[in-house]
Subunit: 351 residues, 4 copies
């Protein structure tokens, strides 16, 4: 019998709870409202079925010229306080995740990692998108951009939502080990120019920024509020996505922040996304079973996606559209359907 | 004193809990969101009263040429893991249910049952609609269609929402004992052609499929998401029903999935249904008191329906329309009013 | 220090709980959804303040030619299972309630009471509206209509929402001691004709019935769903009230079912009511302190009403209008703000 | 490490709970519905981000000619039952609050205080707005207005929402030590005329009163329902604010009642406020750490505000507008995201 989603999640959460780190899975500047509101918005979208004449769907897609088995990839992963605590790891956890993604035919993405760690991650075989932090030291940024290209990354970018520091659930700036600073439009243009790779602007949450991202030369944006760390009371991802899709029809659009199930992924695709990033689920899957857990998680999400695509009559990722979506938020308001965290909210971190 | 609805439900649930099977009553692919959202949608519809000049209503109706005391029938019943566990049964539970329906003047419907079991069910005297699974083996399908006609079933059909497998709450395919597969439109046309009985397409949840069902020659559809097993985040039945009614005015339309009370039935009739299928309630009633419990449940639902029809001024099923309905979902959002399951959601199945 | 609302309610509920009868305070056919939805609808209406230039408001009004200190009256009271259980009463509880209402300058209303009891109630001094049950025995109805006039009642009427029996929370018909039956329009016309008093149709919950009530000669309607016993999933009183007010501008309109606070009363007045009936609060107040409790309850509601009228700038009942109302139901949905019952829902009646 | 918002709140609440006074922090006439509804309305507003091209924002502003570091000030503070109970205070708590506000570059505002206490408060160095109660004794009002000017207050005013008495959560009039009474428009005009200072009308909750405030000569209004004590079921502050802003574009508009976070402040500014008053947070901060706690609280709110302004691309208070706001209330309805009180609602006051 293949692994079940709930089994992987349960096992991963159990291990994370055992080291007192579950609260770190639900990040969120100040009040964490953004994650609740985002989840509720996802939950308010439902599907009609279009089965007659439908065949088993194919989830294959392509991002940055790379063939992927499924439009699901890692959201830019950094050093994780959660997984650190579960260590020591014989094989470093970021490499295990990269390897599991490679096994599943998915794509890796990195955030705040050292360049030597980046090299080892690329070695695992999955295509890698490297998102560079807005370091105060501009040379460091340029070194990252250059080295990423040398290592064979398929794209680079920057998470602009860290310009003004990130804040985790405990109201302290998240990754405290770098000095970050806001970048001007000219800075951003230069980063785009200095790399031969497609440039990704991560942390776009408005038409305003999507248009500017296009204007400075980016070829892709990630609609994201950084899993909650960027801004309190963020507009839900799927609420703002359609307007962004319409504003920049030529750009590749990825989303992340709070996506948990194959149905969540399908909703994002239907509303304009080309790929969906996940981070928390990968941390949990890695906590559960390392590389094998990551591979299994991607495959389970792919199976859910394929089955749901088949049921709504979308035979391929390119043929997904929003005509099968309905919106029930105004009548009801499903609040907890995909809350996989249980009652850990009050769990305190242990220092 | 006649039995009360709450007494039957309490007794049935108590017995089902005693064998650890209550969680199996609330099925649901992946997150079970569809059942919650569906219930909330039903709960957001309310009635005005039209009493002056009203008389005691009559709930009689006709489906597939059969006179029924009430437009409530069994949703296609299969072998039940829940009732199996309560056995051994001196008289098999599906036959007890069929007999109870016959006693109450209602209609039976069967799903994944063997042909010899089907024969014994038909013998109980209620008219039977036999829904054939989309078996991978086409000959098996045709044998079912032919045998159903020989036995005197009043209609046959297929549950298309099982084309891509069903998933129960435990994220495993529900009835694992058949190999199912999607059928082409040509396959479906052939099934309609090969039977002399009215053909029912079960699992329609869009205008798209309702039109195609009509196009392939079906004379009836069942608007359903298979009690939750078909698709996660399904659009609520009563939300999609009016558009389907408008699209295929000539077809018989039945609904099922989550209907629990006489008022639920009246809402479905008002929004376009000709009949309302129930399954979970029949399992509970049968668990409570076998054939007698099933009979009592249908009669209690009929009494609720008759009383509510009288209060809204609809003297007959044919005269029910939506003009007495109001929608409160936007202002409030009653979430738990007909939750008959209590807090069993976390009850684990015992294998 | 004068009594506080919360003190009276606490004391009354405590006494009612002590005899195991609290569940009987929240009546409701089948699922009790109507009371929850009705409360939520009331709670979704809010006020702006208009203080500058405002003076202390006057709550005086007139109903059926009677001067009242406040547009709050008893909803038609019957023999109460709740108060019976608290007995024996030295002075019968219905007389204590009538006396308390007289003390406060309010109005009494009676439902299923015997004629000799009615006489003693009238003797307490408050004006009385006598609502006659739709007894199967027409002569009994006519005797009630005639005797009420002889005793000096100010109006008579009939609760049409009992035509098809009432159902309490325990799913058994509420007042089981009478045989009730639906009345034809001709019957209703005759009752109006046979009495010299204004005729009140109680249990109107649609424009349809309001127009028919006017048509048969009634001079007043009570918009009500009988505290929940009439119909499951009833449209909220304040949702249907404005349309009824518009349809029958010449009729006196009263409301009841779920009104609990002075602000609830003001909302009803603003949306078209001339008077607001309360029943549950009177039972609780009588349980707390008999006649004195009833008087205090009316006075406290009057004080709340007067203060809130002053704050919204309505100097008199006649000058209340809906321009100070706003609707927040679509944004939020306050669910429990006036739930005075606490967690008694699961309290079981003791036979 | 700098103090965290949650640490100050936790510490303050812990001290307040230790003397049994937490229930007094959540005031509210009759049902306290207004505070719940107000919070939910605030929570239903979310932000898009506009980061590209944004720089670190500046929160400086000016009110009544005074330069402030942030558009956050004290809502008119009175003698506090909560802080009294925590005494005796070596330095009186109102002076500690005023001093903390001065340290942080914010503004003080006073309500029901004696004139000698007012003098000592002004001495702490923060600019002071003195709101005079609508005392029945008109000479007392005029003495307050005159003395405030002599002491160097920057504005005076009156809280009109106390015209008809205030009611706290325990349903007793809040500050019971004054006899208050409604004032006529002529009275109000005279108060405006008699003072050389800008006059503030506090407790405006409608366009009606905003226009009248302007008409009598006020130069500022405070949109407020007095933290809940003024009226039950008050319209939420941010729901009524935009219409008031549009009606009196020339007036200074402040808001208070239920503002808790930097994001709350930004929402108020975006919808038309020039300044946001806080009271409960100051009581908690003072309970936690006196003057230093108050200073830290203002600085933490300022930091949240500055960071969020930066993320939405508003470089200065003057450039904040509502174009970055979205409304999610209709889809979801975040109910508890900024509930800082935990489960004290049932805590009983100890006399």
């Amino acid at each position: 019998m293949p692994a079940r989603y709930s089994d992987i999640v349960s096992k991963g959460l159990e291990r994370i709870r055992s080291v007192g780190m579950a609260a770190y899975l639900d990040l969120g500047a100040e009040t964490r409202s953004q994650n609740r509101l985002n989840r509720r918005y996802i939950d308010s979208i439902v599907f009609e079925m279009r089965i007659l004449g439908s065949t088993l769907a194919d989830t294959k897609t392509e991002l940055f010229g790379q063939a992927l088995t499924v439009p699901i990839l890692a959201a830019a992963l950094c050093k994780s306080r959660v997984l650190e605590r579960l260590g020591p790891w014989e094989i470093p956890y970021l490499e295990q995740i990269a390897a599991g993604l490679a096994d599943a035919g998915s794509m890796m993405s990195t955030g705040g990692v050292e360049l030597d760690e980046l090299a080892r991650i690329v070695d695992q075989g999955a295509p890698v998108v490297h998102i560079v932090k807005p370091y105060g030291d501009d040379d460091l940024i340029l070194r990252h951009l250059q080295r990423a290209a040398e290592l064979g990354c398929v794209a680079v970018g920057m998470d602009i939502d860290a310009f003004f520091q990130e804040k985790a659930w405990d109201e302290e700036p998240g990754p405290a080990d770098w000095a970050l600073s806001p970048k001007s439009l000219d800075d951003m243009r230069r980063y785009c120019r200095e790399t031969t790779l497609p440039f990704v602007v991560k942390g776009v949450l408005s038409v305003h920024d999507a248009l500017r991202a296009q204007d400075i030369g980016a070829s892709a944006v990630v609609v994201s509020f950084h899993g909650g760390e960027a801004i309190d009371y963020a507009v839900p991802i799927l609420k703002i996505l359609p307007a962004i899709r319409e504003a920049v029809p030529e750009l590749t659009i990825m989303v992340d922040s709070g996506f948990r199930r194959g149905t969540d992924v399908l909703k994002a695709l239907a509303l304009g996304a080309d790929g969906v990033g996940i981070a928390t689920l990968l941390l949990i899957a890695c906590a559960a079973d390392g590389r094998a857990g990551v591979k299994a998680m991607i495959e389970l999400l792919a199976e859910e996606l394929r089955r749901t695509m088949s049921l709504v009559g979308s035979p391929s990722v390119a043929q997904v559209d929003r005509s099968a979506l309905h919106f029930v938020g105004r009548e009801s308001g499903d609040t907890d359907s995909s809350n996989i965290f249980g009652d850990d909210e009050n769990e305190k971190r242990e220092q």
